[in-house]
Every structure is written in C-alpha cells, then in structure tokens.
Subunit: 155 residues, 4 copies
C-alpha cells in the first residue's frame, strides 16, 4: 500500500495500519491487492483508494474477479474505522459480521479504479461502511456494504 | 482443482470447467484458491468442496481472510449452475449480480474446511445458490448467498 | 400468533414473546402478519412457522410482497434467539444489524407457506439466523439471512 | 402516495404508478405505507420520498420496524426504474431478485424521514438501486440495496 507520509501525523492509526500491511510477513491474502492499493484521500468518515487492475486480479474473461472485488471492499472499508474520531473511536478494525457486494459492470485489466469508502455509522460496538467502485470513466461498477464488530476490549 | 476423472462422464460441464481452471494461463485471481480446492461431491443442485486452509488464505490474525471467504463462495457456488439439469440448463456459469457473506467463527490455517454449495433455484435467467462453510469440527463458520445472471445467449 | 400451550413449559421465553405479540396494543407493524402466523415447531436452533397468504400480504400482481417477505423473515428468525440454550443464552431478541433477502418464485394468496428459521450461530453478542420460505409444493421461493446484536445488558 | 400533478408531464410513468397505488383495491401490503409516502423529488436516476413515521410502522419498542424499513426500501427504490431514461428504459418496475438492508439507528414515531433512492445502474435486464433513510436530524439510520430483473418482455 502506498500512502503519503504526512498521514503519519494527521491519521496515525491509518498510517500504522498501512505500514503493518507493507511489513507483514508474506504470504497473506491481503498481499494479492495491497501492493497495488494507493491511499488517495482520508477524511473523517471517508477513505478513497486507487488501484490499477492487473491480470492477477481478474477472472478468465479478463475482468476484475468478483472475489477480488469483495476482497477490495473488505480491506478498503475497514480503514474507515481507523479514520473515525469522536467518542466511539476504534483502536482496531474489528471483525466482519456481514459483507454484501453488487456487481453492475465489469472492469478489465489496465484500468485504474477508484474505491470510495464512506462510513454509514461508526458506533461503539458496530460499524457500517459502504463502498462504491468506479472505473476510469467514473461509472459505478460495483457497490458494497460491510458491517464490522468492535473487538477492542479483547485486545 | 482436483476432481475425480469419473466426473468427465457424469458431469462433463463441471469437469471441463475444473480443467479450464487448471490449464488457464496464470496468474488469475482464482489461482489463489483453485490449486487447493478439492471437488468432493457433485449431485444435481449441490456441489461440495474441501480445502486445507493455507497461510496465504489468511489475514494477519491467522484466520481465513474475509475476502478469501467471499472468493471461495463466488467460485464454489458457480459450479452448481453447471451441475444443474432440466429445462433451464445453463451452458456457462453466468455473471454475478449479488454476493453476500456472513461471518460467524474464524478458521485458522491448517484446518480442512468443507464448502457446501446448494441451489436455491436455477431458472432460465437467474440462479441463486447458497453456501455454508464448515470447519474441521463441523461448525458453521461462514454462510453466503450468490445470485447469477445467465449470459448463454451472448456466448 | 398461534402457539401450542405446551410451549409455555418447554420454551417459556418463546411462548411469552408470542403472548406479547398477541396482547400488544394495536396497531404495530407486526400486526400485519402476526395474527396469521402459526408456530409449527420449536427446537433448539430452529423455529418453523406456517402462514396462509392473504391478499393483504400481496402486491398488486397477487403475489406475496417483497416487503412482506422481509417482514416475515425479520420476525420469524428473531424467535430463534429465544429458543437457544447454552452459555450464550439471550434474554431478548436483540436488534437487527443486517437483513438480506433473495427472491426466486412468487407465492399467490391462498397458499400456505412454511417459514423455516435456523440458527447459523448464536453467540454472546451476535446472532445469525437463516430462513427459507417454501410454497405449498415444497419449493424454495425466498431465502433470507438476519444478523442481530444482543442488547440484554441495556435492558 | 402524494405527488405533484406536474409529474404527469415530466415523469408520466412515475405519476401513473403513484396513481395506480392510490386507486388500487385495498387491502395490499403497500397500503401500510403508501398512504403516508410523499414523493418529494424526481430526477433521472434519483427519487426522494418523505414520510411521517406512525405507530403502525413501528415495533413494540416504538421504533420503525425492520420489516417496514425493508418494505419502504422495496417500494421506494422501485420507482427509480420508472424515472430512468435512455436506451435501457424500463416500462415496468420488474421483479426483485435481492434486497439487503443495514440498520444503524432507530427512528421513533413522529419523526419525518427522508428516503433517498439512487440508481447504481439501470441496465437492459437488471437494475440496482441503493437507498439511504435519514431521520429528522439528517442522520443516516438505514441503508439498503435492491436488485431488480426486467420483465417487460412478459407483459
């Protein structure tokens, strides 16, 4: 994952998690996308990523694989919990309870996609984050919803 | 993917798709799980897979990654369309419209999981397949639902 | 809701909740289906309901309305939390975090449907229950998944 | 349903469907909300509704019932297909294949909610519409996603 070093000051938890992904001992499932993910914007309640689609992300028809889309939504939305401030601040990204993805248009290798992840609500115990994935033309191609449960008390 | 050669006679479409995954030019997203997937049972309306969880399927906490679970459900349920007989027979696996996954219990590397995929309904245009993933103790750890749209007329 | 009086001994929490629905001051959203719901079977981890579809449950095409299907799945799966025994016993039905429904076949007024609700997992904080709705011929017409969060500590 | 008469010119299909709901022979499932729904805005790709929450929409705790939320999302998003222009214009609202709802915050009787329904994509065969429901304070309380299949060719 690539992230601007200035994030270390503005969103230290987000920056540390990016570093954690980069320094983790391979191989892990996240490796298949994290080396290509670029953190484009972070604000409270929203994290935007960009990624160039590689053949290794695609199905045999040459489009981004549905499982890769789900993986991107899982990983990219999770960072929104760490960008959240306020009384129900999360120290970790929690665990998934539900993930749903809808597929509209295929995206072939070579395109640079934009993954916009927005908090619906970050509560004390539960977080819900939605995600929209856009192709190079700005068309919505996939959408997703991710519900996470806070496990800070167990850490 | 491993499948018994006898499937070539009983479920030729299923067998050909397994072969297609095995002979496909790497790298594709399916490669990250397909080499470990073993096709355990095929009946009309149901396909059962087994897989030993490797570290490369896991998150940094050592459990099967949510994106890998979604990928397994995407791939494994799709084969059910090819095992279907009757008037609304599908020649190909179609494209995904919706995929939803619920997560209950983590599964660490080393366990052999069982992925049971069952047709809710295979219609002329739409198919819905559900999936349950069990750990070595037979506990349900993840469930999923996959809706596919038939694109045979475009092939 | 109709339930056999013997449930008062075998599953007192389930029975009390049925009574609560029957004695509640009208009008509430649950009234639109609860007067027609018959509790057919209760076992730990599973609750089965039957209901005759009325015109008031249907859309203008004469089939069970998608919103009614979602309402039935919401209400009927929630009782499974109360039929659960063991260390993570729930005293109340919690609150919904996610509900998903898939639609396969329409069901017209006049048919008696069977709503089978089965626990995927009832944990201390979270419960997941799946549901299948069958028509008079035993065909699966709708499936659903419901995730609930325990709020016993707030009661 | 209330809608401005000017819609009869600008969005005739939307207006006719509102009339159809209003003149339909009672009782139908949609009656439980349609008399309270006010069509606030229609643009290509988006339909916004407002509704005052009544006790009859609520659960016994006094909040909008999860099944009513699902019913609202089902009905309100469906109108987006009729507000769509372009080569993949729909003549009818199609049938549901998948509906998913996430619940964040309860809304009590008395509040006026805003139901914003936005097309993800309206294609020739499939439509996906998302919905966000806001309380009087503008907080997101529920979100949903609805996938529909076009049945114009059968009409």
């Amino acid at each position: 994952m690539k992230a601007d070093a200035s994030l270390a000051k503005t969103y230290p938890q987000v920056y540390e998690m990016v570093e954690f992904h980069n320094k983790g001992k391979a191989p892990h499932w996240t490796d298949y996308v994290s080396k290509d993910l670029v953190l484009a914007e972070v604000t409270p309640g929203q994290v935007v990523w960009e990624m160039e689609v590689k053949e290794s992300h695609c199905n045999q028809l040459g489009n981004l694989h549905g499982g890769c889309v789900a993986t991107l939504i899982d990983i990219c939305t999770s960072f929104v919990t760490l960008a959240h401030e306020g009384k129900s601040k999360w120290r970790s990204m929690g665990v998934s309870t539900d993930l749903s993805v809808s597929y509209f248009l295929g995206i072939p290798a070579g395109e640079t996609i934009r993954i916009v992840c927005t908090a619906n609500r970050i509560g004390k115990n539960l977080a819900s984050i939605r995600s929209m994935i856009y192709n190079s033309n700005g068309q919505i191609c996939y959408s997703g919803s991710h519900t996470k449960f806070n496990i800070d008390s167990r850490l």
